[in-house]
Symmetry: C2
Subunit: 207 residues, 2 copies
């Protein structure tokens, strides 16, 4: 049976809940209320209960949701129980920060390769990763079945780094730089927008 694709908004919120639930579990908590989930996600509790009730009876009145169970169910719904390889472009401060964090590993994303354009950096190690030259992007992406590329490069280098990844077959570009990145149909670009988020936060402080 072909299941229906989730609407964009639902998929975005479930992804966010999953990230929060994973952190909640790490902190040792076994249950979570929709109120607490609301505080961490900035989604209102009614919306949260609606999102979750669409997938069966999750919560218990007065006890909250079972964290483990909810993680399992959302992973099933999002089809994200597997492991996925990603390529990290840029071994500067930001690249090194990403390489040494568990932020992706906790969700099944394995940083399989690290690339840099700087000959002085190529061949060095950043954490467990060897810095590779850009000339190896194509071969490495195909060999390691990498479908996600993360851009941790200066804005002026972002498009060229994205193009290399896309030519090699990467389907999702995750852009940490503030530059705008173009991609052909069939390739999704997701840009972190910390400045945009900060403007948004400030608006509600100022008004």
């Amino acid at each position: 049976m072909q299941e229906e694709r989730l609407p964009l908004g639902v998929a975005a919120r479930l992804s966010r809940y999953l990230q929060i639930l994973t952190q909640t579990k790490k902190s040792g908590k076994r249950t979570i209320s929709s109120q607490i989930l609301s505080e961490y996600s900035n989604v209102n509790p009614t919306q949260i209960r609606r999102d979750l009730s669409a997938f069966g009876k999750f919560g218990k009145r007065g006890v909250g949701y079972n964290v483990d169970y909810l993680i399992g169910r959302i992973k099933e719904i999002l089809h994200t129980s597997g492991q996925h390889n990603l390529a990290l472009m840029g071994s500067g401060n930001l690249g090194a920060a990403i390489a040494s964090s568990r932020i992706f590993a906790d969700h099944g994303f394995n940083i399989a390769a690290l690339f840099d354009t700087d000959p002085a950096k190529v061949g060095q190690r950043v954490g467990n990763l060897l810095v590779r030259p850009l000339s190896e992007v194509g071969e490495t992406v195909r060999e390691k079945k990498i479908i996600v590329g993360v851009l941790a490069v200066p804005p002026a280098a972002a498009q060229a780094a994205a193009d290399l990844l896309i030519d090699a077959g990467v389907k999702i570009i995750f852009n940490y730089s503030e530059a705008l990145v173009d991609a052909p149909p069939g390739v999704a670009v997701h840009s972190m927008s910390p400045a945009g988020e900060l403007l948004y936060a400030l608006y509600f402080y100022l008004t």
Copy 2:
């Protein structure tokens, strides 16, 4: 005349448009179509036209929106034309990456102080910033009228860093760590969720 507060969704989208328009302007383009704005923002073009038409006649059929004019109007609407000081917690790889980027400066956010808990780092310079000890958070926040605190610290240190900032009077915590951060009423916490965003992107790739 007291104007009405924008709904959350509208404010979030306008903030995102503003970030994209600022980058578009930097790249030398003077107009932008709702189609292009849609591709960069992942908001559909109909929604974009609706958001923008609510604030007057912006676009010209076949020519698109004037980038400068739109930036000016959105800044007015979001009340974000001013300069705001922020404090950056953590001078490791991530802190150094943020300190050296223009990602906040382009939107009027000035990194006014950088703090670290490591005595070996205190007194060093990261870019133009002197690394200060945590004991100076309170005084510095009050002196420099800092209302935003950015957490670029390991997950285990995030809550303590947030508490210091909140005690000093910071009203917006911008959390780059994957840790969940609690705050009292009146203080907004915004967490970057790269793993959540990546799960979301992956869902649409896998289904």
